[in-house]
Symmetry: C2
Subunit: 318 residues, 2 copies
């Protein structure tokens, strides 16, 4: 239905394939990757699959992120779901939607960022697709090999503690800084622009026997509500101002917002939210000191969440 | 970055999950499907993965297709790559991009179409994602279990015949009819609106030991060129007017186009293009009479394709 464009679809796919990490840098290389109609992977005992979308104006803006940063973050965000599922990355597939007016060099720079992230996480490039689009968009699809039993958001048990693997509200603060042209808080901006999936923390949680895990993409309130609903429990939040990262505290002073509210209603943190018993938490903290306990799991009392800071809300991508 | 919309992302995903076919209708149900961060599939010996995009204005138009037809075709097109790889569909993942001005009921109707197609091909719904988009778009990822050795487009051998599993140029003719408001050629319009992946023919080819297969999405010329390049051979086309479906012949008379050119420069046929020896072709034709031999594989002679009809070209989505 589109016009022929010799330099279009085929060459862009080849450009993407050229970013495939070298085989010896991969956890489990594809047997046949991009090029044919489909990719063939090595056998998978516990195939774990996740998908994500990053769209211009909804998930990123060119004013704030270079094409390479956009590509790198898209991979990190997608693989975060594998971390939350205790799965090691095997292969990533990327569909790129490119507006006709954007130069091909932008696609190449996005692919550069994808390549950097793939190499970091030892993940192969399985394939992809480019098509004309009114809006720059990346649809990513990741396949991992599950390591042991898959944790679920429905596994929260009454009496457990509700915990996170790192500071909350950082990415939202970074986004606010970018919107305001504020440059004094690089830690916040980095949290927004360059999140890292917590495979390191996931290993610790898995070895400690944690069974209820999810990554925080919709903010603590949004995702804790998902967890509470799936588990049929009430999660009682107990946030304290001293839990806030010092950069977030300082930024909240600038804008006159409560750090409690900022921590509760963040988003895109890509830290892991999990539940465990108090002794298990002690064992985890010994190897992963960034872990914070932010509440408790109680019997369902009529609402999924209690202890919310005033005026907190979770933000959501439609 | 987007505003909170209570009825947005979460409920649309639940709407999609409600279309998951019943377990006993599936080839191999997911152990854990959509809902958690990731899906967990049953073990796969030969995981075959493919991805496709269907975008409004590039791949479909609302004037021509109902939302349900759009959904159904998107699944068929994606699974066609699995058919071309001799793989049985296991699970499909769907990312939907929805413009804010479109009613949610349109997403529901698209999901209805997805559900119908999933059930037809005994494929589970593994998960998905909805996000706001300036343009209606579907990004689909399909996972299949390979049945035997995966055929490749690089497998064409000198001396073999070049064949297709059914008539060529039909979908392109159907698209032209829709553009012209022509209603006398339902076979052509059906080929464009409701293509069917050729799992039936793929089974026959696999049992006959065919090793070089791809599906025709870019038209015979476009895809034969891919095959010739990957195999390092010249493909010598030998199209004849009597190979054209009678509806295509009649439509070509209406518009004064050569049927040879129409067959060569089609697109979106989703028939399989393959190579095999003459005796193997006889065996295949005995069970699959729609197969047509359209040329021969010869040693590389300086061009990938010879025997092209005049003024033929392949069309391509950027």
């Amino acid at each position: 239905m589109a016009n022929k464009k010799e330099s279009g679809e085929f060459s862009l796919i080849e450009t993407l394939v050229a970013r495939r990490p070298p085989k010896d840098a991969l956890y489990r290389p594809c047997l046949m990757a991009a090029g044919d109609d489909a990719a063939l992977l090595a056998s998978l005992s516990r195939p774990v699959i996740t998908t994500d979308t990053q769209r211009e104006g909804v998930h990123f803006r060119h004013e704030w992120q270079t094409p390479s940063e956009i590509g790198e973050k898209a991979v990190a965000v997608t693989l975060s779901d594998l971390a939350a599922s205790f799965a090691s990355p095997v292969a990533l597939f990327v569909n790129l939607g490119m507006p006709a007016h954007l130069p091909d060099v932008m696609a190449e720079e996005i692919y550069d960022g994808l390549g950097v992230a793939l190499q970091r996480y030892r993940c192969d490039l399985g394939g992809g697709n480019t098509s004309q689009s009114s809006q720059l968009s990346l649809d990513l699809f990741a396949i991992g090999e599950g390591q042991g039993a898959m944790p679920m958001r429905s596994g929260a048990e009454v009496g457990d503690l509700l915990c996170v693997t790192g500071p909350l509200g950082m990415a939202r603060g970074g986004l606010q800084c970018l919107e305001a042209g504020e440059t004094r808080f690089p830690d916040l901006v980095r949290a927004f622009k360059a999140p890292r999936p917590r495979f390191d923390a996931a290993d610790v949680l898995r070895e400690a026997g944690v069974r209820c895990v999810m990554d925080i993409s919709d903010g603590l309130i949004g995702d804790a509500r998902h967890m509470a609903k799936a588990s049929g429990v009430t999660l009682s939040l107990d946030l304290k101002e001293e839990m806030a990262h010092e950069a977030l505290t300082a930024w909240c002073e600038v804008i006159g917002e409560s750090p409690l509210s900022a921590m509760a209603s963040g988003g895109e943190e890509y830290e892991l939210l999990f539940t465990c018993s108090p002794p298990v938490l002690s064992a985890i903290e010994a190897v992963c000191p960034s872990v914070i306990s932010v509440g408790r799991v109680t019997a369902y009392s009529g609402s999924y969440l209690v202890g919310l800071p005033c005026d907190a809300s979770s933000f959501e991508h439609r």
